[in-house]
C-alpha cells in the first residue's frame, strides 16, 4: 500500500468517525401506534438522515395513558427521555409539575432558534401554554372534532349536512331515519360533547379562566346549556335519531365505517384512517351548534398530544431536542404529517404550503379541521387546564353512559360529575401544594 492511499484511508476513516463521536443521541417516547407510528418513525429516520449531529430514537410506549405513566416513572427514576408525548388530558399533570419539563419556548430560544408563537395556527397556539402565554409543550398531533358524513346517505335522504343542532333534529335526522340510516353517532363524549361544546358556544368550562390561572378550579358541569344538549342527545338516541354503542372510540366509528350510520362526529385526525376503511364517498363539515344558545358560533380547540422536552438533560442534548423540534415544525414535515395522518398542520406556513400544493382541492374534507380551528375565537375557546383530568373524563364517561342507558336521571348524572370532578380538582391542588 502506498503512503498516499494509507493517508487517504486514514483521512476517510477519521472523517467518518468524527461526526459519529460528536453525535448527540436523544430519545423520544410516543404513543403513536399503527400507521401513525410508521409515520413517526419515518420522520425520525428523515431527521437523522438530514444532518449528522443528532441521532433521535423514537420509542413506542403504548396508549397515551401508558406513555405518560412510563414517562413519570422514568422521571422519578432519573431516566427520563428527552422528549415525551403527552396527550391533552395529561397536560395539566406535566405542566403543573414545574420542574419536570423545559418550556419549548425557552428550549428553542436558548438554542438560538427563531420562535414566534404567532407562527402557530390560532386554535393550536395557547392550548399547551401557561397562564402567561408561554408555550410549554410543542403541539404535535393536533386534531379537532369534526362531523363526517356519508355523501350517498345524505343524497338518498335528500338532505345536506346540518349546520345547527336545531336543523339536525327537525330536518336531517328524521329524513335520514326515514331513509333507513342511524342518523348520527359520536366517538368521544368528554372531548366532543363536553369540552368542545363549551368552546363552540363560547361558554366558560371551568373557573379560574378554564383552569389556566391556577389550581383552585371548579368545573361548570351544571351549565344549563350543556345539560339541555345532553337531554336532547338522549332523546335522539331514544327515538332512533342517534346511535350510542359505548364509551370507546371504535364502538361508534365502526358502524359509520360500515355504512349503517350516516354522520359521525370524530376527529379531524381520523381522515387518514377513514380513507382506508370507508369504501364509500365521505366528506366532512363543522361541528354543529345550537342556534338557541349562540348566533355566533366560535372555534373549537385541539385534542391530540404535544411533545414535552423533559428537564434534567445536558445543554447539548437540549440543543439536539430543539433541533428536532425545529425540523418537526418546518412546513415540509408538517405538510407530510398532515397529508399522511389527517392531523392538522400546526403552523400557518405549513397550512399555506398544503394549500399551494393543492391538497384541499383533492381532499376538501381534510381542510375542515383546520378551518374550524380558525373560526372566530372567543373568551373561552383557548382550551382548558385541569389536573387529574384523565379521571374526570372517566367520571364523565361513566355517568354519561349511565344516563344514556336510563340508569340515572340527567340532574343526578351531572350532579355526580360535578361533585366528583370538583373533588378531584381539589385533590390535585393539594398535590401541587395548593
Amino acid at each position: 500500500m502506498s503512503m498516499k492511499t494509507l493517508l487517504a484511508a486514514t483521512a476517510l476513516t477519521s472523517a467518518l468517525a468524527v461526526p459519529a463521536f460528536a453525535q448527540t443521541e436523544i430519545e423520544f417516547w410516543h404513543a403513536m401506534g399503527g400507521s401513525l407510528g410508521d409515520t413517526v418513525n419515518q420522520i425520525a429516520t428523515d431527521f437523522n438522515a438530514s444532518q449528522d449531529e443528532v441521532q433521535i430514537t423514537p420509542v413506542f410506549k403504548g396508549t397515551y395513558e401508558e406513555a405518560l405513566t412510563s414517562g413519570i416513572a422514568a422521571f422519578r427514576a432519573g431516566e427520563q427521555p428527552n422528549i415525551l408525548q403527552v396527550f391533552d388530558a395529561g397536560a395539566a399533570t406535566v405542566i403543573g409539575a414545574r420542574g419536570a419539563v423545559v418550556p419549548v419556548e425557552t428550549l428553542l430560544t436558548d438554542a438560538g432558534a427563531d420562535f414566534d408563537i404567532e407562527d402557530y395556527i390560532a386554535g393550536v397556539r395557547y392550548f399547551y401554554a401557561d397562564a402567561d402565554g408561554t408555550m410549554i409543550g410543542m403541539p404535535f398531533n393536533s386534531s379537532t372534532p369534526v362531523m363526517y358524513y356519508n355523501v350517498e346517505a345524505l343524497e338518498t335522504a335528500g338532505v345536506t349536512a346540518p349546520v345547527t343542532w336545531e336543523e339536525f333534529q327537525t330536518v336531517t335526522a328524521p329524513a335520514l331515519a326515514e331513509a333507513g340510516y342511524i342518523p348520527m353517532t359520536q366517538s368521544h363524549m368528554p372531548w366532543i360533547f363536553t369540552e368542545n361544546f363549551f368552546s363552540r358556544h363560547n361558554l366558560q368550562f371551568a373557573t379560574a379562566n378554564n383552569g389556566y390561572d391556577g389550581t383552585d378550579v371548579t368545573i361548570n358541569m351544571d351549565s344549563p346549556e350543556l345539560m339541555a344538549h345532553w337531554a336532547a342527545f338522549k332523546s335522539w338516541v331514544d327515538q332512533g335519531y342517534a346511535g350510542f354503542y359505548g364509551a370507546a372510540w371504535g364502538d361508534n366509528a365502526t358502524p359509520f365505517e360500515q355504512g349503517e350510520v350516516a354522520m359521525w362526529l370524530g376527529s379531524s385526525g381520523s381522515f387518514g384512517g377513514l380513507q382506508q376503511t370507508a369504501d364509500f364517498e365521505f366528506s366532512a363539515t363543522y361541528l354543529p351548534y345550537w342556534e338557541g344558545v349562540t348566533s355566533e358560533p366560535t372555534q373549537t380547540f385541539i385534542g391530540g398530544a404535544a411533545l414535552f422536552a423533559m428537564s434534567g438533560h445536558s445543554d447539548e442534548e437540549n440543543a439536539a431536542t430543539a433541533a428536532f423540534f425545529e425540523y418537526l415544525t418546518s412546513p415540509e414535515v408538517q405538510f407530510m404529517w398532515h397529508q399522511q395522518t389527517g392531523y392538522v398542520p400546526v403552523t400557518e406556513a405549513a397550512y399555506e404550503l398544503a394549500k399551494s400544493e393543492g391538497h384541499y382541492e383533492e381532499f376538501p374534507a381534510a381542510e375542515i379541521g383546520i378551518q374550524q380551528l380558525q373560526l372566530p375565537a372567543g373568551e373561552w375557546t383557548r382550551g382548558y387546564r385541569m389536573g387529574f383530568y384523565v379521571q374526570i373524563r372517566d367520571v364523565m364517561n361513566r355517568e354519561y353512559t349511565r344516563f344514556l342507558q336510563g340508569d340515572v336521571e340527567l340532574e343526578d348524572a351531572f350532579a355526580t360529575i360535578k361533585t366528583e370532578a370538583d373533588e378531584l380538582l381539589a385533590r390535585f391542588a393539594q398535590t401541587q401544594g395548593g
Binding site: R76, A247, D251, V390, R402, R427, Q430
Partner: protein
C-alpha cells in the same frame, strides 16, 4: 419423628437468606411504601407531597363508587368460586367414571388451561362483541338486546363467564387427581354399605376430597380477586366508563391511568388487609374442619 440437625449454625441462616431477601424486596418493602404513601397526596412527578393523614381512606369509604366496586368484587368472587369449583367437580366426577377414551377426554377438558388470561379475555370479547359476536346474536335471538361495554350487567356477565371458563380446567385437574387418589377399597366398602350414589358421594368421596377442595377454594378466591385482571382489562380496555371492575383493577385505574398515587396506595392497603383477614378466616375456621389423611 426424626429431627434434622445442621452441623453448622450459620448454614440454615445462609439457606434462608435468599428466600427472606425475595420476600423483603418484593413484598415487605413495596407494602411498606404503599402504607407510607397512602397518608400523602403526591405530585405524580414526585416534586411535592402533602401529608393528609387518613384523608385518602375516609375519602374511599365515603365514595359510593368505591363501595359499588367493592360490592361487585365480592359478588364476582363468590360467583366465580362457586361456579368454577362446582362445574369442575361435576366434570371431574364424571370424567373419573369414563373408561373408554378417558385420556383424550381429560386432555380436552384441560386444554383451556393453556390459554393466557388476556387471550381468553380477547376470545370473550369476540364472543360477546356488539357487531360480530355469536353470543350477542344468541341473546338478541332470545329477545335481549345484549350490549357489551354499554350495559353494566351485560358486561359483568361476559367478564364472569370468561373468568369461570378459564378457571375450570385448573380445578378439574386437581379434583380429578384427588378423586383418583381415593383408595379403591374405601369406594368398595361404601358401595357395600350404601346403595344411593348421591349419599355415597357426599358421605365418602366428598370428605376425602376436602383437603383438595379447601386448597382450591383459596386458589379460586385469590384468582377471582387478583388474576382476573387480564380478563377485565381486555374487556374494558382503555375505557372503564360504567363497566364493572374489581378492586384490583381500580387500584390500577386510579394509580396508573389517573396518576393518583396516594389514593391508589390507600386502596392497595385496604386490599392487603382484606386478603389478610380472609386468609386468617380460612385457616382458623375452615381448616380445622378438614381431615388430612
Amino acid at each position: 419423628m426424626k429431627r434434622a440437625a445442621f452441623n453448622h449454625r450459620l448454614l440454615p441462616v445462609a439457606l434462608l437468606v435468599p428466600q427472606i431477601a425475595i420476600i423483603a424486596i418484593f413484598f415487605y418493602w413495596p407494602a411498606w411504601t404503599a402504607i407510607q404513601s397512602s397518608f400523602y397526596l403526591e405530585d405524580p412527578f414526585g416534586f411535592g407531597s402533602t401529608f393528609v393523614g387518613t384523608d385518602n381512606y375516609t375519602r374511599l369509604f365515603a365514595s359510593s363508587e368505591y363501595l359499588k366496586v367493592a360490592q361487585f368484587t365480592i359478588l364476582f368472587t363468590v360467583i366465580i368460586t362457586v361456579f368454577a369449583l362446582g362445574a369442575a367437580l361435576l366434570l371431574a366426577v364424571k370424567a373419573d367414571k369414563v373408561l373408554r377414551g378417558a385420556r383424550t377426554y381429560r386432555t380436552l377438558l384441560m386444554w383451556v388451561y393453556a390459554i393466557a388470561p388476556p387471550v381468553a379475555g380477547f376470545i370473550g370479547v369476540m364472543l360477546f362483541d356488539q357487531n360480530i359476536g355469536p353470543m350477542t346474536d344468541l341473546f338478541n335471538w332470545l329477545g335481549h338486546d345484549y350490549r357489551l361495554g354499554l350495559n353494566y350487567m351485560d358486561t359483568a356477565f361476559a367478564m364472569t363467564i370468561t373468568s369461570i371458563w378459564i378457571q375450570i380446567p385448573v380445578n378439574f385437574i386437581f379434583f380429578l387427581s384427588g378423586l383418583q387418589s381415593i383408595p379403591q377399597s374405601v369406594k368398595e366398602a361404601a358401595m357395600i354399605d350404601n346403595a344411593s350414589p348421591t349419599r355415597r358421594f357426599w358421605e365418602t368421596t366428598f370428605p376425602l376430597l376436602a383437603p383438595t377442595a379447601f386448597f382450591l377454594l383459596i386458589i379460586n378466591i385469590t384468582y377471582a380477586l387478583f388474576d382476573t385482571f387480564g380478563v377485565i382489562d381486555t374487556i374494558v380496555y382503555g375505557n372503564p366508563a360504567s363497566n364493572p371492575m374489581t378492586l384490583v383493577y381500580k387500584v390500577f385505574v386510579d394509580g396508573f391511568r389517573g396518576n393518583d398515587i396516594g389514593g391508589s396506595s390507600a386502596q392497595s392497603v385496604v386490599l392487603m388487609l382484606l386478603v389478610l383477614g380472609l386468609t386468617i378466616f380460612q385457616f382458623r375456621m375452615l381448616e380445622r374442619r378438614i381431615h388430612y389423611t
